[in-house]
Symmetry: C2
Subunit: 561 residues, 2 copies
Amino acid sequence: MNQRIVVIGANAAGAKAASKAKRSNPEAEVVLIDRGTFISYGACGIPYYVSDAVPRIKELMSTMAGVVRDSDFFRKVKGVTVRTNTEVTSIDRAAKSLELQDRVSGERSRLSYHRLVLATGSAPVVPKLPGVTLKGIATVKTLEDAELLRSHALPGAAACILGAGLIGLETAEALCQKGMRVTLLELKEQVLPGVLDPELAVKVERQLTRAGVEVRTGCRVTGFTGQEQVEKVMVDGAELPADLVILATGVVPNVELARAAGLEIGSTGALAVDAGMYTSDPDILACGDCCQTTHRVTGKGVFLPMGSTANKQGRVAGINAVGGEARFGGVNGTSIVRVFELTAGKTGLTEAEALAHGFSVETVLSPAPDKAHFFPGAKPILLKLVAEQGTGKLLGLQAVGEGEVAKRLDAAALAIGLGATVEQLAQADLAYAPPYSAAMDNLIVAADIMKNKLVGIARGFAPQEVKRKLDQGEQFILLDVRSPAEFQEVGIEGATLVPLGALRDRLSELPRDQEIIAFCKISLRGYEAQQILNGAGFTKAGFLDGGILAWPYELRGPLGS
Amino acid sequence: MNQRIVVIGANAAGAKAASKAKRSNPEAEVVLIDRGTFISYGACGIPYYVSDAVPRIKELMSTMAGVVRDSDFFRKVKGVTVRTNTEVTSIDRAAKSLELQDRVSGERSRLSYHRLVLATGSAPVVPKLPGVTLKGIATVKTLEDAELLRSHALPGAAACILGAGLIGLETAEALCQKGMRVTLLELKEQVLPGVLDPELAVKVERQLTRAGVEVRTGCRVTGFTGQEQVEKVMVDGAELPADLVILATGVVPNVELARAAGLEIGSTGALAVDAGMYTSDPDILACGDCCQTTHRVTGKGVFLPMGSTANKQGRVAGINAVGGEARFGGVNGTSIVRVFELTAGKTGLTEAEALAHGFSVETVLSPAPDKAHFFPGAKPILLKLVAEQGTGKLLGLQAVGEGEVAKRLDAAALAIGLGATVEQLAQADLAYAPPYSAAMDNLIVAADIMKNKLVGIARGFAPQEVKRKLDQGEQFILLDVRSPAEFQEVGIEGATLVPLGALRDRLSELPRDQEIIAFCKISLRGYEAQQILNGAGFTKAGFLDGGILAWPYELRGPLGS
């Protein structure tokens, strides 16, 4: 008898593993089991179906050529047998067999395997709050969720979204585009916690507000009220009206089946697997959202489910299930989200994460246009680069802006994944022409500033630090080195104007015993001011990281708001 | 006396070197000399000024904050003394001094240096052809050229562009947008020679033709005729009318001064420099377009002037001129160009280049949408990946398409610059969300196909090879595995239809003794067909690289043209 590979879970990872196993060994019998009716659909596309950007739900279930990826497709095209609406109720590892239950007929049966692949995925966290089972409270995971959201997304109706992470933000955008009044509720003090440091998250929060989303951070939801249908959300003791509530506070791995079978669970609560996607049982592999994986920068186990990761892992599990020797190399924790006109994302560690992992960090905030500044349509993006002091190793990049953000993230993802240093990033031979970047790409500029910081030539002050000094009334000079015209338009309250071109002639006006923190629009001139001051013997000069464009607090002047 | 750093040439590299030298050592006197009137301008922006996309020429000469980078700016802001309209006529290396001539007054003078930086740039090739000095024959290099082009770019007038390289194509776009009748003349048999392999260059050529540019490849220009003003271009014995002729057949490094001073010239004809940008004289450095640099993939000297490279080299030369220890790490030969709706570019080596350098190569052609295929606005891009057999080392990536090409080039530029393998590229944790990529990014797909090819699982046939078989009437089956509906719309003449879903049931119709080359729209199904055939014991099965979308020849059917 040919070997039988059984894959449990027929979404990204499982469908990929099954197909790849069959391609790798056409002699093998491959059975793909799913508890649901629909399989192999693009769950990541749900918000865009809800917003009508993707008109038909079938498109989320189809191949590029427009063929629906159903059981028939898997049988004919992939040579894989699919059993939908089938629950695997237990794994008998000793006998290498599964107990199944048909979810329609209730019928039970057994199925033996030579190799088993677990791709059981993850489930949205449903907080144990009063009223959470009311109608109109939904998650964003299945096609059934997608239909529910679309049917509830009525113009003028009120939506409350719990959680300002990636899915929360995508859903906020979608519901807002459908004309709903959207309130975004987040327990943490910022949007996109874990993706962006606070000073970048502010940019996203402002975009949400501009687009009409009411953002409430640092707030706690305590329950939901209503008759059958949800009517109100209880937030910090107050009531918010809600016709639709979205639970987007994260996902948990589906590991009950594996746990019951005695498979090792990792430190994150997800399934422990090695680089070959083997669980603690050499005949059982796992892939996708149910697995823990290794973060390339920290070397530690993380639970960071992503469709991109699921596909890579599915390929490895499929190859290895039929005796191959593929390896999965871990993740950077890369993520990206579109928030109306803005794109935001990261790869590697944020500053907060790097500090939490005990790295000694240096950071750079670098705002600049995404194309040659003279090129029409150039739009600003803000990069935050995080590197390790001493080694100069790249730890992370965050990026936010209306311009081309994804490109910088992907290039940095390669660099960080390959363990590159800031110097190596600075040497990257990126594709340059005015429609695509400045002669010195944003990444190169950020890397050069980082190099200057790491060797102590550039002395940057984070906006938070400067704000603290201002708020506490510290004695220091906040030196605006822009032109008088720029100074009129927008500025930071409390700053002193000395245009860079006049600085060399006006050095006598500045005190030598005080800290002087220079800035301009992006702090390139701010940095040059520091160099001029240093050159003239001022020992306490520095610059404000990222200048006006990266300043996350209120600005003064007509363009300030 | 303080040390004096003299920099010759005040464009990208020289301006950067001078500014960086002064910042690195504020005690140093830095003198920046240029033979022209205008300095530090964005020459790469000239085509966009010609097309009116950049309305004012001042924008090409200004900083991001709108300040013109003139002598006054360099003095006040950078602390650098600029001498424009000044020709350096000779270098006395023994005395460490320069002979200068004022190009306005004719006055001669001498200037001593401690360290000299040569940033003399490059000049467009002006072919020695009869009539080449006629009026209306221009290059695309200086601001004077920019004004000449703009003033001659009149709707309905005829322009002939010699050279279908990056600048030729940018200029073709610009003049076309101004309503000129543009003919592009190229000596080689394809557009973008050295940037794209022929099967990708075809895509660019078609775009040019669609946009109204007449493209003539493989043609030789023998001269120009006209009274004072050019009127005709002689091409292969025939005459083409021309009100404006653009010479865009490449640039040569300006090394006369260095050569006369006895400095070493590299194998490419450009100045030989080491990684510290030192010439053969330890007191003379060089940077930018006048220099030879090292290709990271081949390790060999190349002359590939780019604004991005000039800036990086200028930084290194500036730091080292005042005693620092910076290094320039070479180039990938990355380039990119916008051609109307299309973007085309490369990083690393093309297949032709890799073969010429003696690499044993494997290639992948991978067409796919640039975003999730269900996402509105997803546009196709075609990638060609080149890797080394045996080591699996990445050698190059080419990309052409209407979609997001630059992102894939930049990510690959990092990977190739860091010496990554195909496996490492396949493991990249790229930023995934439907508006930005498919769950498996185009790069990951291409890398996975390459892995399958390198281990011999995937057996691809290049379009050129299949075309040859068809033309020569070889016995083989060209197997179209798309749906009947797709087959009706567009196809390859001579193909046999067996939809992938029916293939397993119709194997008996296919001969086992003949080569079977399967394909679909992108050859993902084509590859699956190969696997099904292999699984059924067909030993001579393979697939057509890149399928219909990468097929560079004529197609059959209503959508074929």
